[in-house]
Symmetry: C2
Subunit: 223 residues, 2 copies
DNA sequence: ACCTGAACACCGTTCAAGT
DNA sequence: ACCTGAACACCGTTCAAGT
């Protein structure tokens, strides 16, 4: 009401506002590129206030991941398993890309977040119905980890171009090598590769490999 | 007048000794878990000495990655392509596991290191000979990234059990759920999964998916 | 050329004290 | 209950000064 202009805090500091701001910072500069101190000052508060309302940095990060994963749409469970996963992973990509760094966390540390449970439940059930039996869980993990890794790859290109540029230059210098045709091909590839195409290719090959498990051998009916 | 950490300085501080020590620290506690200051005091020197002889932290890290990748054995190029990659990736795993954190860097930032060149050259050439044509480079990247990701996964379990434990507990609580059979299967899986088996399974499925590219359609013979 | 020792500009986290 | 303001124990990096 009569708060001085210099201390103008637009709204009260709440857990929700802190997480929303953390999400905004993540979308702008990536999950690992904001600090708890900067988050605090973005909501006009002291670091200790973040601790009071939410917790340490890791807790804030978990909340950000949670709210990103919650945006992922679950395909219709009556779809064929392969289509189901193509839709899931195709939809996952833009959601994760919009919050750089989240894919990396999911790929490396697993989905330790409540809203992932519905996706797991759906995915594993779809695979079991398709006849993957006891392999359903591994197949699920393979597909999801794969997808998250390649999104993390793309994030990386966008966020920390420094490290990648070094290797891109390294490879490009072999573009026209005749004695090293493999490196030459790699050099031409890194110059013009479309990460989105690589994503689709990787997912398609893994789905192929996994699909062969159903046709190669009799379907194992779980106990 | 004392040297920092009062370490005996029998040996002179050299770039080689710094990198060797960094490698030792990496093997013991992981690539991201030592600091440049601790590295400096481990060789009995001031931080500025590391800068003088090697460079910033990122340069030291690159040197560590280089020396780890240099240990990877290249299979005989006359092997069938699939066997060649099974041997390469099977050999890659223990080398990377011994230096936790290196796999993660390779998976996320690519192999920006000189000793990776021979592996790339060999791998892409093997695939081209096998008839993968222009897809050879993507196939190579898919297989190597895949392998590095799953090693990074294992590293993570070993090094930072904190984050993983949270999700393991989360899943385990659904072990006996009857309404959520997918989560129940996941809960049973995380309790007893062998990461080495997962690694082999993932590689095998990806190789299957990739192999199908050769049999599905006519082999394109590049000029 | 190589090392010293301090400084700079940050971190995440904790805590007694205020209101 | 919530916020203040300072402190603690670190970082990576830089730099003038010594030898």
């Amino acid at each position: 009401m009569r708060t001085p202009a210099s201390v103008d805090k637009r709204q009260a500091v709440t857990p929700g506002r802190i997480v929303t701001e953390a999400l905004r910072l993540t979308r702008e500069e990536g999950l690992e590129n904001w600090t708890l101190r900067r988050l605090a000052s973005a909501v006009g508060a002291y670091p200790a206030v973040v601790y009071h309302h939410v917790g340490d940095r890791e807790t804030v990060v978990a909340a950000v991941i949670e709210s990103v994963v919650a945006e992922v749409a679950l395909p219709d469970e009556r779809l064929p398993w392969r289509t189901w996963f193509e839709e899931l992973l195709g939809g996952l990509r833009p959601v994760l890309r919009a919050a750089p760094g989240v894919a990396r966390r999911l790929a490396l540390h697993g989905p330790g977040v409540p809203s992932a449970l519905a996706i797991i439940e759906g995915g594993v059930r779809v695979l079991r119905s398709a006849g993957f039996g006891d392999e359903s869980v591994v197949v699920y993990e393979l597909l999801l980890n794969q997808a998250c890794l390649f999104v993390a790859f793309e994030d990386d290109r966008g966020l920390s171009p420094g490290i990648r540029e070094r290797s891109a230059e390294l490879f490009s210098s072999y573009r026209d090598s005749e004695t090293q045709p493999g490196l030459a091909a790699m050099g031409r590839y890194v110059a013009e590769a479309d990460p989105a195409e690589f994503f689709d290719y990787a997912i398609a090959r893994t789905l192929d490999g996994v699909a062969a498990r159903l046709t190669d051998r009799p379907v194992s009916t779980p106990a």
